[in-house]
């Protein structure tokens, strides 16, 4: 939306446009822009105070369950000194919100939080200016509190002051903000702002969008990855009432007036495919990673220990979904994505149209975990809708979600080290094949180290996942730290403390160990204790776990986890994220793995792919460390990295078996 359009759409009031040069640079890469489009305006948050006093904040960030909507509302409320209820956030709507790269990398809290604070602080000062002029009193005599501006006996709501005026201010990024130590709204457990819509079922997710005349779309996928369509016959499907078949090269699909007809029609499409020979399956993929690695390293000085990490699926409980609607040359798409502007770009590129003609709306979505960066369902819906001339819904099934989305990369990690006689680490060598560079670097104080990521070929489509490769790298590193502690005959906690110089890392490790009762733990048969620590994306994590191994069955009995990410924005929601990440991490640690062969996924259903359930839960103790002196970092990802190595180390403690593959025990543990 252009500035001049703002007041036309919203009526009068105060508008604050935040200029952020750093964001403009990051966003300005030409590849993401459509043809002949100007560079994105360097605005990263807009704020409007309407004549009724309603505050609306516009941000390109999105809500996928991490409670960014609540946290950013708190940020605006804090600086405006207005009730949380008076603030509304418009998120991830490409026609209304400023350009944003996407909601990933735990950047909403450290990047967007301060920007919204600055916009809100500027609006507050504009209100003070207005009151000062209207009442002819000094600015210093004016206070703003609880959504009202007051000077002596005079008092006015925000809307009264801005009434009938159209005021715009563009601000630099240097506006002064309330320090965390003085926060009154941020830093408190404000409840989820749209929680009532969730518990009543009123919230409309992308999967729930219905449009007049909307058709239900299906896509005919190949039997295996990379197959090409050789022959196609949709005539039998077209005989079904209301069914329209669409074929564009390798893309074949249909629409129908109801979902059952769509499903039946899909079943009678006739197609022949030319399939490709698979390069690897889930059993030999680790050798494949090594074989196809770039810049493979020379032999390590010490013989390495090898860890492997399986491909896993995000399994967002709301599968990918989109509704597309064309009005002449204009396309509107509702879809669940972490990158609405990226999806807009995908659509405008595919249809060779200006980005101005594409409107992507992102309703708060049924989770993503890094799995919803692309616009697959949106593009399918838009292609079908264009072909049939009606709005089309393209809601993926679970099996489609677990086959045609993308996966967390699998990987191989080689680690080796040499210890000094005093138990400090003299040399460290660490090589990650394929899974990624996040969290590659050891947080321990080691003078001589070599840490490398070696990209490989991948047989599956792979991309982002909560924490990215930090989970794999922490798993290998923290399990190997346990191996070294064992070699050095030192307690795993003492061994780590001996090698830590970072005070924040030490603080979380000690906090988790104390909460867990690490030093007073009592070893009994079949029980084991393990711990792990690390840091990533500005967050520090330590996790202790107790497991039992009974007849080969591993059960995580309890876990204590400590997390520190600077000044806490919302303690309850942070605790929820830390617990939730730990719970999700149990799946990847113990049993989640995508099995594939012949370019096919063998377990793309929840009956074949186990995710954590109620009875997998340990007792969880969560210790949050609030550092008001440190800017808030994101918290949605890093708390996942500690649990897998903590469990692996606890299994070793219980059984003497060193398990070096994630998942650790998909079918239990043999020989225990």
């Amino acid at each position: 939306m252009r500035r001049r359009d703002f007041f036309a759409a919203l009526g009068g009031g105060i508008v604050v446009l935040l200029v952020d040069d750093s964001d403009a640079q990051e966003a300005g890469g030409g590849a993401r822009r459509g043809f002949n489009e100007p560079a994105p305006t360097a605005l990263s948050a807009w704020l409007h105070i309407g004549e009724t006093g309603l505050v609306t904040v516009y941000t390109g960030k999105v809500e996928v369950g991490q409670n960014s909507r609540t946290a950013l509302t708190q940020a605006a409320a804090e600086e405006l000194r207005a009730p949380v209820e008076s603030i509304r956030l418009v998120m991830g709507d490409t026609a209304l919100t400023p350009f944003d790269m996407g909601t990933f990398g735990s950047m909403t809290t450290p990047r967007m939080g301060p920007q919204i604070r600055k916009a809100a602080a500027t609006a507050r000062e504009m209100l003070v200016d207005l009151a000062s002029q209207r009442w002819m009193v000094a600015r210093s005599a004016i206070t703003v509190a609880n959504g009202r501006v007051t000077a002596g006996s005079r008092s006015a709501g925000f809307g009264e002051l801005s009434n009938g005026q159209k005021l715009t201010r563009t601000i630099p990024t240097s506006a002064a903000l309330v320090p965390a130590a003085d926060w009154k709204v941020s830093g408190t457990s404000v409840p989820k702002v749209n929680g009532r819509e969730i518990v009543t079922g009123a919230h409309k997710y992308a999967y729930d969008i219905r449009r007049p005349g909307m058709q239900f779309g299906k896509v005919l996928y190949p039997p295996s990855y990379g197959a090409t369509l050789v022959s196609f016959d949709g005539s039998e499907a077209e005989n079904l009432t209301g069914v329209k078949v669409v074929r564009e090269g390798n893309f074949a699909g249909l629409t129908a007036p109801d979902p059952l007809t769509a499903e039946k029609a899909l079943g009678v499409l006739k197609a022949e495919w030319k399939e490709l020979t698979a390069e690897a399956d889930s059993k030999d993929v680790y050798a494949y990673f090594r074989r196809t690695a770039q810049n493979a390293p020379p032999a390590a000085a010490q013989p390495p220990v090898t860890y492997t990490i399986a491909y896993i699926a995000h399994v967002p409980l709301e599968p990918r979904a989109a509704v597309a609607e064309w009005e002449g040359e204009k396309l509107t798409v509702w879809t669940g994505t972490q990158r609405p502007f990226g999806v807009r770009s995908e659509l405008s590129t595919h249809f060779k149209m200006s980005e101005d003609q594409v409107h992507v709306l992102m309703p708060d979505t049924g989770s993503g975990y890094g799995g919803k960066h692309t616009g697959d369902a949106a593009l399918e819906a838009a292609r079908l809708a264009k072909a049939v001339g009606k709005p089309v819904q393209r809601n993926w099934t679970r099996e489609e979600e677990m086959t045609w989305a993308y996966f967390r990369p699998g990987g191989v990690i080689d680690v080796s080290a040499r210890l000094n006689p005093d138990g400090t680490i003299a040399e460290w060598e660490f090589h990650n094949y394929n899974s990624g560079p996040s969290g590659l670097q050891t947080p321990y104080a080691i003078a001589n180290k070599r840490e490398q990521y070696h990209p490989s070929r991948t047989p599956l489509r792979q991309s982002s996942y909560r924490g990215l490769a930090a989970t794999a790298n922490h798993f290998a590193r923290e399990c190997y730290m346990d191996e070294l502690a064992h070699t050095a005959k030192l307690d795993p906690l003492e061994f780590r403390l001996k090698n830590i110089q970072d005070d924040r890392l030490r603080a979380v490790l000690v906090a988790a160990a104390d909460k867990f009762g690490w030093r007073s733990r009592q070893k009994t048969a079949g029980h084991g204790f393990g711990l792990a620590a690390g840091l990533e994306k500005g967050g520090y994590i330590a996790t202790c776990a107790e497991v039992s191994v009974t007849n080969g069955v591993v059960k995580v009995l309890r876990a204590a986890t400590s997390f520190e990410c600077g000044a806490i924005v919302n303690p309850e929601h942070l605790s929820n994220q830390v617990e939730g990440a730990l719970v999700m991490g149990i799946g990847g640690a113990l049993f989640e793995h995508i099995q594939f062969a012949g370019n096919r996924i063998l377990n793309p259903r929840l009956s074949l792919y186990r995710v954590p359930r109620f009875n997998d839960m340990p007792r969880i103790d969560c210790v949050l460390i609030d550092r008001k002196d440190i800017p808030s970092a994101g918290a949605g990802e890093t708390p996942i990295v500690g649990i897998a190595p903590a469990i692996g180390n606890a299994i070793f403690d219980a059984t003497g078996q060193r398990l070096r593959s994630m998942p650790l025990a998909p079918k239990g543990i043999q020989n225990s």
């Binding site: 979902p259 929820n576 994220q577 954590p612």
Partner: protein, 161 residues
């Protein structure tokens, strides 16, 4: 010979008789969402593994993705939209809000109806009864400990429906 299939023309949903015209082989989930615009009931897997689609049928939590709409004559169906009829939240809904027992919220309607059904059968469940009773429900965001806390807190107040 074409078989004569009697269409489903009426369902008792949330205390009201709803008129419709549906193939009896269609799932209750699809009819609720696509014909009656009751989208609070969620699709998660289509094979009864996740319980996001849970509704109450004559008070019993039931997977609507596996329930053919032709099997529901004379049955009373309650969806999440029917749990707070006059805008007053059910104690289980209140308890979920109080315990922050959600993140993305996709599993929440099914969780809440599963919990209402559990508390009807077992008004004061132990922790292991909650775990066993709710184990069919998946929360991928991992809010299980909070759901357990919410159910404990709602215990004794949850049998209204």
């Amino acid at each position: 010979m074409a078989r004569v299939i009697s269409r489903v023309t009426e369902l008792d949903v949330n205390g009201a008789r709803r008129r419709l015209d549906a193939d009896p082989e269609r799932t209750l989930l699809s009819v609720l969402r696509d014909d009656l615009d009751l989208t609070g009931t969620k699709f998660g897997c289509g094979e009864g593994q996740c319980a996001a689609c849970t509704v109450l049928i004559d008070g019993v939590p039931t997977r609507s993705c596996l329930t053919k709409v032709g099997s529901l004559a004379g049955k009373k169906i309650v969806t999440i939209e029917g749990l707070a009829p006059e805008g007053k939240l059910h104690p289980v809904q209140e308890a979920f809000l109080e315990a922050d027992a959600m993140q993305c919220g996709w599993c929440t309607p099914g969780m809440i109806l599963g919990a209402v059904g559990l508390l009807r059968r077992t008004p004061h469940p132990s922790e292991s009864e909650i775990i066993n009773g709710m184990n069919g429900h998946i929360c991928r965001c991992g809010t299980y400990p909070r759901v357990i806390a919410a159910i404990r807190s709602a215990a004794g107040k949850g049998g209204r429906v």
